[in-house]
Each structure stands twice: as C-alpha cells, then as structure tokens.
C-alpha cells in the first residue's frame, strides 16, 4: 500500500485511463455495427460469441482464483446454483443457494 501513498497521481491516472479505455472498448462494438451491415448469420454468431465469452467467465471465475484452483466450496456453490437454474428455480433462489452452499462448506472446513 506504500505504493499508493507514494504516487497517488499515478494511481488516479491509471484509474482514469482504465475508465476511458474500457469506455472505448464498449463504444467500439456498436460503432462498428452502425458502419457495417452484418448478414443475419453473422449477427447470430456474434450473439453466440457473447454466450461463449460468458461461459468462459463462468468456468474461469467459478474454478480459479489468480490462475490457480479456487478450492471446492466455490465451484460446488456454482454447481448447486446451476442445477437449480436448470430446474427453473427462481433467480433469487439460484443466487442465494450458490452463496449458501459455498458458505456452509467453508463453515465445515472445506476450502
């Protein structure tokens, strides 16, 4: 943390650039789409692409932390949530069950 105390300007600058850069990424997609007309098949593939990105996020954020295995409790919670969602349980139940599963497992000493 001494880092931040030493260079608050650098830290705030990094935050500003991250904000502007992220906004530019967000802006790029719709800007491209309004310039080029995509055939319907390409449009469907783009939507598949976002599902694939989200699925990859589920897997990586559900199973790993900082590049290594995150432990049993977290993926177990996500799995319980996923099964409930598959059985068409309400969204709130899915989320709370995921968190509760992970919390209970950790309470029992499961990492």
């Amino acid at each position: 943390m001494t880092d931040m105390m030493a260079a608050p300007a650098l830290l705030m600058g990094a935050i500003a650039v991250l904000a502007v850069g992220t906004f530019a990424f967000r802006f790029a997609g719709p800007a491209l789409r309004s310039k080029i007309t995509f055939p319907p098949r390409a449009t469907r593939l783009l939507e598949t692409a976002s599902v694939v990105l989200l699925a990859a996020l589920v897997v990586t954020s559900g199973l790993t932390e900082g590049g290594v295995f995150a432990g049993i409790a977290r993926p177990a919670g996500v799995l319980v949530g996923g099964v409930l969602a598959w059985r068409k349980a309400p969204f709130a139940v899915v989320i709370l069950a995921a968190a509760a599963t992970a919390a209970v497992l950790r309470l029992l000493g499961v990492p």
């Binding site: 990094a14 967000r26 598949t48 694939v52 589920v58 995150a70 995921a98």
Partner: protein
C-alpha cells in the same frame, strides 16, 4: 426511442429478475469494497473506480495488483486486457444501447450482467427494458455496495466466508442456460470453457476468456446447414 415506451416492456418478471440481479451485484460490491479496504485502500477508492469503470472483474484485478504492491501501470494493463471482451459484447447487442446523448450512458452500462439480461429476452422491446433496468440499477448498487463493503470490511474481514464469491459465476451461468439449450451454442460454449480453463494457469487474466472465442467456430458449420435448408 422515448424513455416511456422503453419502460412499458418492463413487466413484473423482468422487474423481479433485474432487481434480484442488482441485489446480487450489490452483495458482490460489498465483498469488492471490503477486499479493497482490507488491502489498505481508502473506502472511497473502490467507489470511484467502480462508478467510472463499472466492470467488476477488472476492478477486483486492479485492486488486487496494486494492493499487493504491484505498479498501477501493471494493474491498468491487466484491467484493460480483462475488459477487451466488451468489444464483442457491443457487437452482439448494439440495438439496446439507445441513441443520441442517451447512447453515451447506454454504452457505459454495457457489462456481463446487462448483456446476459438482454440476450435472454426474445423481443427487442424486452431486451431494451431488461438492459436498461439492470444497467441503471447496477450503476447505483455497485458503487453503493463498494462503499458499504468498505465500511463493514473493517468488521468482517473475510467476505468469502459468506460465499459471495460463488454468486458472480452462478448469476452468469443461470442466465446463459436458456441459450445453451441450443446444441451448436452449447458445443461452442463447452469448447470455449475448456480452452479458457486450460490456458488460465499460463496466461494473464483476461486472455483465456478471449481465447475461448475460438469455440464459436463450432457454431459456423451448423449455421451454414441452416442456410442451405
């Protein structure tokens, strides 16, 4: 498109789903704020970062890198890398973002949760309503959650004990499940997930998720058959 007709498509079910989503995001915000304060940041820093960047993954990463003594430049580059996925997101849902000055706000609201809410709806009006309700809610609850998390972070140092870390993946999984019932999309998603997981130990955060995009190739032959039919 005037705002009034935008909200007309916001029926009870959409409203409940968006509210639950925002509640979950608020809770994840608690753990984000608590994590930041535990790493030694002042309480307002994750709030400012949260409101300006509005992309949870990159913010956790940023706080984690600087908090563990890394350079803000490294944290910036890692955060940008994690956020590149917003380009394909914007390509997928350009029509929900609004027009004119409103578009600037609409673009800022583009993130994992709003995209997943939008692609989960059939008609365009419902896509727009889901996107904006969820997005505006997140714009409020994410920084708010971070502020509260910063305050309680000093009291409850380990928010993972509450299982909050399982929420974000569960939220995304629940919302992409309907799209995964289609076989071509499912094989693409599984292939992408395996690719991302296999490369995660070796690559910087953010890159594995982009490599997963190769899984989309599995959906290409299927679409060609459909055209031939």
């Amino acid at each position: 498109m005037p705002m009034r007709s935008l909200w007309k498509a916001l029926d009870r079910r959409l409203l409940v789903d968006a509210t639950v989503m925002c509640a979950a995001v608020g809770l994840i915000g608690l753990s984000y704020g608590a994590t930041a304060v535990a790493a030694g940041f002042p309480w307002w820093l994750p709030v400012v970062l949260g409101a300006l960047v509005l992309a949870a993954g990159s913010e956790f990463l940023f706080i984690g890198i600087v908090g563990s003594g890394g350079s803000p430049i490294t944290a910036l580059l890692a955060g940008l890398l994690v956020n590149v996925r917003h380009i394909p997101y914007g390509l997928a849902v350009p029509d929900v973002l609004g027009h004119g000055w409103r578009r600037l706000l609409g673009v800022h609201l583009l993130n994992d949760e709003t995209v997943v809410m939008a692609i989960g709806q059939e008609e365009m009006a419902r896509k727009r309503a889901a996107y904006w309700a969820c997005g505006l809610g997140i714009l409020v609850v994410w920084p708010l959650g971070a502020a509260l998390g910063g305050v309680i972070g000093t009291v409850v140092p380990d928010t993972n004990a509450l299982g909050l870390d399982a929420m974000f993946p569960a939220v995304l999984l629940a919302l992409i499940l309907p799209a995964l019932r289609e076989r071509a999309t499912l094989s693409s998603a599984v292939a992408g997930g395996v690719l991302a997981l296999a490369t995660t130990p070796f690559l910087p955060a953010g890159l594995p998720v982009l490599i997963a995009l190769a899984g989309v190739l599995l959906s290409v032959p299927k679409s060609r058959e459909e055209v031939a039919r």
